[in-house]
C-alpha cells in the first residue's frame, strides 16, 4: 500500500482558535451582489445540509439546481432524526458555553477531529437555533414561552433543542420551506426522483454532474460553476441500518473515483438502542430514542442459555452490566461503549430474545418509582411504536434492544472551506468527514448539517467564485459526453448480466460480511477475511445478478443494483481503513488494542491523523494520505466513563 507523506492542506486559518472563523470570513473574497446571478450551482441532496445550502445560496442570488432521489425534497433522510439538535445557547444557565460544546465534541470524537472545524461548529450552533425559530420551527417551550432544553446522550448540560420526538422532521420542513420559497421565486430548480450517477471534471475542476431521471430513465448532463454534494451517509453498506432504504454512497463514491479523497471510511457509529432483528426478511432497523436510557435499566441474565421469561428471573440472577462496569455513567454510557458492552454479553451467550441478539431495557423500576403515568407521559409514543413493531407491551415485559448501524463519521475529505480535493466540489453534512472524529455525540449531526448549509458554504463558495473565477463549461464538452456514455454503459452492463440472484441477496451478504468483520469490534483476522470475501462477492455480483426490466422506465431493481455495485467496491475501502488504523478510537474498536479492562486504547503517537484514501484503480489498493491532527486546546486524554 502506498502512503503519501505529503500532508494534506486543510487550509486552517491562523490566529487564536476563537478568532479563526471571523478572521477567515474577513479575509475571504466576496462576489459582488450584481454578479451572483452569473454563477450557477448544483446541489445534490435536499436533506438538512442540501436544503439549507440550496435555499441560502438562492437567497444570495446564485442560480441553483437541486437534486434528490425521493419524490419530494422534504422526504430526505434527515426527516427521521428524533432526539434533537445541540446549541451552545446556555439558556438554562447550567454552565454551557461555546468552549464547552467544542470540548465535549472533540473529546466525544475521541480526539480524531479538527479543533478549528469543531470550534467553528460550536460558534455557529447558536445562530442555527435563531434561524430555525424565525422560519417557524415549533421547538418545545416551557410555560413561560421560552425554549426548552434537555440533556442528551450523556451530556452534563442541557443544550439540546427538540420538537417532540420529531426534531429532524421539523428542522427539515423549515429548511425545505425556505427552499420551496426559492423554487416558487424561480431561483432554485428542484429535480426530484433524479439520481446523480457521476461528477464531471473539466481541467481538474468540478464542472457538473450526470443524472438519471428515475421515472423516464433519461441520462442527462448538468453543468455549473460549482457542485455541492450533500448526499448523506453510507450506513446502508451494512444492508441493515437505521438509515432510510435509499441512503447510498453512490454520489460520494463517484466523486472518489474522480479523485476526491475519502476520509476515515471505517468510522461508523453503532447505536445501542434499536429494535432487534426479528427474522431473515428484516429490511431495516428501527431506532428507539436514546432518551429511554434515562429511565430504563439495561440487563441480561447472569447465566448463559437462560430460558426463563424475564419476569421469572430473580434480581440476584440478573446482570445490570452497564451499571456494574460504569458505575458513574451506568445506563447513560456513551453510544460506542454501550453498544460494545451489549455485543460482549451476547457473545457470551447471555443475549435474550429468539435470536439471542438482544438485551433487556427494563422500565419496571421506573414504573414502580414514578408511576405508569409519568412513564407514559415521557415515552408514550416510543412505547407505542415498540408495541406496533414487536407486538409486545413494554409496560408489562421489558423491551428488547440491540445495537444497529446508525451514522457514518467518515466521508469525503474536505478542507476548512468544505471543499474536497477536487476544486469546485464541496461536500456538506453527513457526506463529509469533518467534525465528529471517531464518534459523534447525540444531537450533533443536525447541528453540523445546518451549520454547513446555512452558515459556512454561503461564504466559502463565494470565496471560490471570487478568487478562482471558475468558468461554466457547456454540457456538450467531451468530458460530459464521455461521462454520459460511461453511465449508459454501466446501466447496460447491469441489465445484461441476466444472472440468477437478486440484488438484495448480494446486499444482505455484503452487509453480513461487513457487520462480522468491520462492525462493533474489529480484528486483523476478521478484516482480512472480509477483504478476501468482498472482491469475490463483487465478482459474483457482476456475473450472476438478476436485474429485470429496462433502463428507460421506472426500474427499482436497476436503482438498487447501481447502489449495491458501489457499496461492493466501497466496503473494501472501509475494511482497508479499519485494518490500517492499528488503534482503537471512538466507534472503531480494534480488539488487539484495548486496555486491561477492555476499553478502547488510542495510539496518539502513530494514529493522531485523518486517513484520507485516494482511488487508484480497481485492481490496485488505494493510496493513503495522512492529515496530522494537532490539539492545542483540548488535550488528548483517555476517555473514561467509569
Amino acid at each position: 500500500m502506498a502512503v503519501d507523506t505529503h500532508a494534506l492542506n486543510a487550509g486552517i486559518p491562523s490566529g487564536p482558535l476563537a478568532e479563526k472563523w471571523d478572521r477567515h470570513r474577513f479575509e475571504m473574497k466576496l462576489v459582488n451582489p450584481a454578479n451572483k446571478r452569473k454563477f450557477d450551482v448544483i446541489v445534490v441532496g435536499s436533506g438538512l445540509a442540501g436544503a439549507s445550502a440550496a435555499a441560502t445560496l438562492a437567497e444570495l442570488g446564485y442560480n441553483v439546481d437541486c437534486f434528490c432521489y425521493q419524490d419530494s425534497a422534504r422526504r430526505a433522510h434527515s426527516i427521521a432524526a428524533q432526539g434533537g439538535i445541540n446549541a451552545a445557547k446556555n439558556y438554562q444557565n447550567d454552565g454551557d458555553s461555546i468552549y464547552r460544546l467544542f470540548y465535549d465534541t472533540v473529546k466525544g470524537g475521541d480526539f480524531r477531529a479538527r479543533e478549528a472545524n469543531v470550534y467553528r461548529l460550536a460558534q455557529i450552533s447558536t445562530q442555527i437555533i435563531d434561524q430555525c425559530v424565525a422560519q417557524g420551527v415549533p421547538f418545545a417551550r416551557d410555560y413561560g414561552g421560552l425554549l426548552d432544553n434537555r440533556s442528551f446522550g450523556g451530556a452534563q448540560v442541557s443544550r439540546t433543542f427538540y420538537a417532540r420526538g420529531q426534531t429532524g422532521q421539523q428542522l427539515l420542513l423549515g429548511a425545505c420551506q425556505a427552499l420551496a420559497r426559492q423554487v416558487g421565486a424561480g431561483k432554485v430548480k428542484m429535480h426530484e426522483r433524479t439520481e446523480m450517477l457521476d461528477v464531471v471534471l473539466v481541467d481538474g475542476r468540478a464542472a457538473g454532474i450526470v443524472t438519471r431521471d428515475m421515472v423516464s430513465g433519461e441520462i442527462r448532463s448538468w453543468s455549473a460553476n460549482a457542485v455541492i454534494l450533500a448526499t448523506g451517509g453510507y450506513g446502508n453498506a451494512f444492508f441493515l441500518s437505521t438509515n432510510a432504504k435509499g441512503c447510498n454512497v453512490t454520489a460520494a463514491f463517484r466523486a472518489w473515483k474522480k479523485g476526491a479523497l475519502f476520509a476515515n471510511p471505517c468510522f461508523t457509529q453503532i447505536h445501542p438502542t434499536c429494535i432487534p432483528v426479528s427474522g431473515d426478511y428484516q429490511s431495516k432497523l428501527t431506532l428507539m430514542s436514546e432518551s429511554l436510557r434515562n429511565d430504563g435499566r439495561i440487563w441480561v441474565p447472569k447465566q448463559p442459555g437462560e430460558t426463563r421469561a424475564p419476569g421469572q428471573i430473580p434480581e440476584a440472577e440478573r446482570d445490570y452490566y452497564l451499571e456494574r462496569r460504569y458505575p458513574s455513567f451506568g445506563n447513560l454510557s456513551p453510544r460506542d461503549i454501550a453498544s460494545r458492552a451489549a455485543k460482549e454479553v451476547c457473545d457470551e451467550g447471555r443475549g435474550v430474545g429468539p435470536t439471542g441478539l438482544g438485551v433487556y431495557l427494563d422500565f419496571a423500576d421506573a414504573i414502580q418509582r414514578l408511576g405508569r403515568n409519568v412513564i407514559e407521559q415521557r415515552y408514550g409514543n416510543l412505547f407505542q411504536m415498540y408495541e406496533r413493531i414487536t407486538g409486545e407491551d413494554p409496560y408489562a415485559v421489558p423491551m428488547r434492544i440491540f445495537p444497529a448501524v446508525h451514522y457514518t463519521m467518515g466521508g469525503t475529505w474536505v478542507d476548512y472551506n468544505l471543499m474536497s480535493t477536487i476544486p469546485g466540489l464541496f461536500v456538506l453534512g453527513e457526506a463529509n468527514f469533518s467534525d465528529h472524529g471517531a464518534n459523534r455525540l447525540g444531537a450533533s449531526a443536525l447541528m453540523q448539517g445546518l451549520a454547513d448549509g446555512y452558515f459556512i458554504i454561503p461564504y466559502t463558495l463565494g470565496n471560490y467564485f471570487a478568487s478562482q473565477a471558475p468558468p461554466r463549461v457547456g454540457t456538450d464538452h467531451a468530458e460530459f459526453r464521455g461521462a454520459e456514455t460511461a453511465v449508459r454503459e454501466r446501466i447496460q452492463k447491469l441489465l445484461s448480466v441476466n444472472g440468477s440472484r437478486s440484488v438484495d441477496t448480494f446486499h444482505r451478504e455484503l452487509g453480513l460480511a461487513l457487520w462480522t468483520g468491520c462492525g462493533m469490534a474489529r480484528n486483523a483476522t476478521g478484516l482480512k477475511q472480509a477483504l478476501d470475501r468482498i472482491p469475490a462477492l463483487r465478482q459474483e455480483f457482476w456475473e450472476d445478478v438478476n436485474v429485470v426490466g429496462g433502463g428507460e422506465e421506472l426500474n427499482v431493481t436497476l436503482e438498487k443494483a447501481g447502489r449495491v455495485a458501489d457499496f461492493l467496491e466501497f466496503a473494501e475501502v472501509m475494511c482497508l481503513d479499519a485494518l490500517t488504523r492499528g488503534e482503537s478510537c471512538g466507534g472503531h474498536f480494534r480488539e488487539e488494542h484495548q486496555t486491561e479492562d477492555h476499553e478502547a486504547k488510542r495510539d496518539d503517537e502513530n494514529f493522531c491523523h485523518v486517513s484520507a484514501w485516494e482511488y487508484t484503480d480497481i485492481d490496485t489498493a488505494p493510496k493513503l494520505h495522512k492529515e496530522p491532527l494537532v490539539f492545542e486546546h483540548a488535550k488528548p486524554s483517555q476517555r473514561s466513563y467509569k
Partner: protein
C-alpha cells in the same frame, strides 16, 4: 400465514392497469407490510417477473413516502399508522388483501403503486413558508410563544405530507394538508406578516392543481397516520373567510 394478494399493476401512466393476484404462503406475523411486499418481489424476481413498484424510504412512519390503499383504506386497517409501520399480525391467515395506489386527479399514477405527489410541493411553494432569509434572525428567545400556541403549531406541523387524506376523500380534496400548514404557521408570531397572502396563494394553487372541494366527510382525519385534526380545516375556512371580508372592505 397464507395470503392472497390482489395488487394493482400498471406499467406506465397511460397503461390501463389491472389487479393481479399473487399467493404468498410463508408470511410471518412479525413482518411489516412492506417486508411482506419485499418477499413477494423476491419471489417474482425468482420467477423472472418484474417486481411491484412502490414508494417507500424511511420505513419508520415519518418521511411520508409510502402510499398505498390497503383493502380500500389508505395505509390500511391500523389507526394512526403508515403502511411501513403496519405489521402482518393485523391480518388473518387466509385473508385476501387488495392493494392499490393512492388515487386522485392531482396524484397521477406513474407505475404500479407509485404516484406523483408533486402537486403537494407546488402548494407549499406558493406560500407554505415564512420568508426569513438566512442570517437576519433575532435571538431565538426574543419572542416568547405561549406553550399552548406552540403545541398547536406542532400538532399541525406533524403532517408528513403522505397524501392519505387526499386518497381517502371522496372529492380528493387537499384541505387537511393545506390546513395543517396554515395552522402551523398561523399560530406562531413569525407567521403573522404573511398570514393573508399565504392562505390566498395556497388555496389558489390547491384549486389549480385539481384537488377537489371539502364537503365535510372527514375521511381525511380518520385515515391520517399522524392524527392531524379535522378541526384545522374549520380554522383554514375561517382564515379564508377573513381574507374575503378584508378584500371587500
Amino acid at each position: 400465514m397464507k395470503l392472497t394478494l390482489r395488487i394493482w399493476r400498471q406499467k406506465s401512466p397511460n397503461d390501463q392497469g389491472r389487479l393481479v393476484s399473487h399467493q404468498l404462503d410463508d408470511v410471518s406475523e412479525h413482518m411489516s407490510f412492506l417486508e411482506m411486499l419485499d418477499v413477494l418481489n423476491e419471489k417474482l424476481l425468482a420467477e423472472g417477473q418484474e417486481p411491484i413498484a412502490f414508494d417507500h424510504d424511511c420505513r419508520e412512519g415519518i418521511c411520508g413516502t409510502c402510499s398505498m390503499v390497503i383493502n380500500g383504506v389508505p395505509h390500511g386497517p391500523e389507526r394512526a399508522t403508515t403502511t411501513c409501520q403496519l405489521h402482518m399480525r393485523k391480518f388473518r391467515d387466509g385473508q385476501t388483501i387488495t392493494v392499490e395506489p393512492f388515487r386522485a386527479k392531482a396524484f397521477p399514477v406513474i407505475r404500479d403503486l407509485v404516484v406523483d405527489r408533486g402537486s403537494f410541493d407546488r402548494v407549499i411553494q406558493a406560500g407554505g413558508f415564512i420568508s426569513a432569509n438566512t442570517g437576519g434572525a433575532p435571538d431565538a428567545n426574543a419572542i416568547p410563544i405561549a406553550k399552548g400556541e406552540a403545541d398547536v403549531a406542532m400538532d399541525a406541523a406533524a403532517c408528513i405530507g403522505c397524501g392519505a387524506c387526499v386518497a381517502a376523500c371522496p372529492n380528493a380534496s387537499a384541505m387537511l394538508f393545506v390546513a395543517a400548514k396554515v395552522v402551523h404557521l398561523t399560530h406562531l408570531p413569525q407567521g403573522q406578516p404573511e398570514r393573508a397572502a399565504r392562505v390566498r396563494e395556497m388555496v389558489r394553487t390547491m384549486d389549480a392543481e385539481g384537488f377537489g372541494y371539502c364537503s365535510n366527510h372527514f375521511e381525511c382525519e380518520a385515515v391520517c397516520p399522524k392524527e392531524i385534526s379535522g378541526r384545522f380545516i374549520s380554522e383554514l375556512n375561517r382564515e379564508f373567510r377573513e381574507l374575503f371580508w378584508r378584500g371587500k372592505s
